[in-house]
């Protein structure tokens, strides 16, 4: 039996982008305010799960042809790479650096290497969550 989920699908098409935008906001807010890579990643994967609920697993795979296990690996590489970078400057592992830059439009912005690390966390969280959900979902 095919269920009628037109409302869910329509709503998803709008809210998906709102959720993803908010998760990106959370991600960048992370350094000085509540937020960060972990919660941002969870929220993004929440958005993808919503997509999975509204449509089916095949459709989502055509929209997002991502191998989530590889995504975890890329995320880990980001995180480790940031930490390892410090070794080249003869500093302890994971030492981070930051500076203030005047960017057009944004004004005075602080740039951290920690953001790179957080990008890694972001990707790992999406990858892990989606792998788990797909593993359970696919076998049905």
């Amino acid at each position: 039996m095919k269920t009628n989920d037109i409302i869910l699908q329509t709503v998803t098409k709008f809210t998906l982008f709102v959720i993803i935008l908010f998760s990106i906001h959370l991600f960048f807010a992370g350094h000085y305010h509540p937020g960060g890579g972990f919660i941002g990643g969870l929220m993004t994967s929440g958005a993808i799960v919503l997509l999975l609920l509204a449509f089916d697993i095949k459709t989502v795979k055509t929209i997002l042809p991502v191998d989530y296990i590889k995504l975890v690996a890329i995320g880990l590489l980001f995180a480790i790479g940031t930490g390892t970078g410090a070794l080249f400057f003869d500093l302890p592992f994971l030492t981070h650096a930051f500076t203030y830059v005047d960017l057009p439009l944004l004004g005075k912005t602080s740039l951290h290497t920690a953001v790179l690390f957080d990008t890694g966390v972001f990707l790992v969280v999406i990858g892990v969550t989606m792998t788990i959900i797909q593993t359970i979902g696919e076998s049905e």
């Binding site: 972990f38 892990v128 788990i132 593993t135 359970i136 076998s139």
Partner: protein
């Protein structure tokens, strides 16, 4: 406040123990989840409950909050999130493969298939 938290943690541990002693695998997993919640709350309480400013230079506040318990809890939560989800997937696979979630029937004979 600490007394209240102590009771809350105690209740969580109690519920966790009760659930973990039951036969259904799913209840056991929920029990381990409650156990780790209790442990996380315990860290928070043991770090000292108080209101205060974030421990940053230039805040000039009267009291500061200890950031360490929060960092520890975050780490512990992430780890227990990972372990619990792994455990759930494993339980699901075991249910498919062995056809039961009853711990009594999962016991099996020592060293046999």
């Amino acid at each position: 406040m600490e007394i209240l938290m102590a009771f809350l943690i105690g209740i969580l541990f109690m519920a966790a123990t009760y659930l973990m002693l039951s036969k259904s695998l799913l209840r056991i997993i929920i029990g381990t989840g409650l156990l780790s919640h209790g442990a996380h709350l315990l860290i928070l309480t043991m770090g000292g409950l108080k209101r205060g400013a974030p421990p940053l230079l230039g805040e000039h506040a009267a009291t500061y909050v200890d950031p360490l318990p929060q960092a520890l809890i975050l780490t512990a939560i992430v780890i227990s999130f990972g372990v619990t989800s792994f455990f759930l997937v494993l339980a699901y696979r075991a249910y498919q493969e062995l056809g039961t979630d009853n711990m009594d029937r999962l016991r099996g004979k020592e060293g046999h298939e």
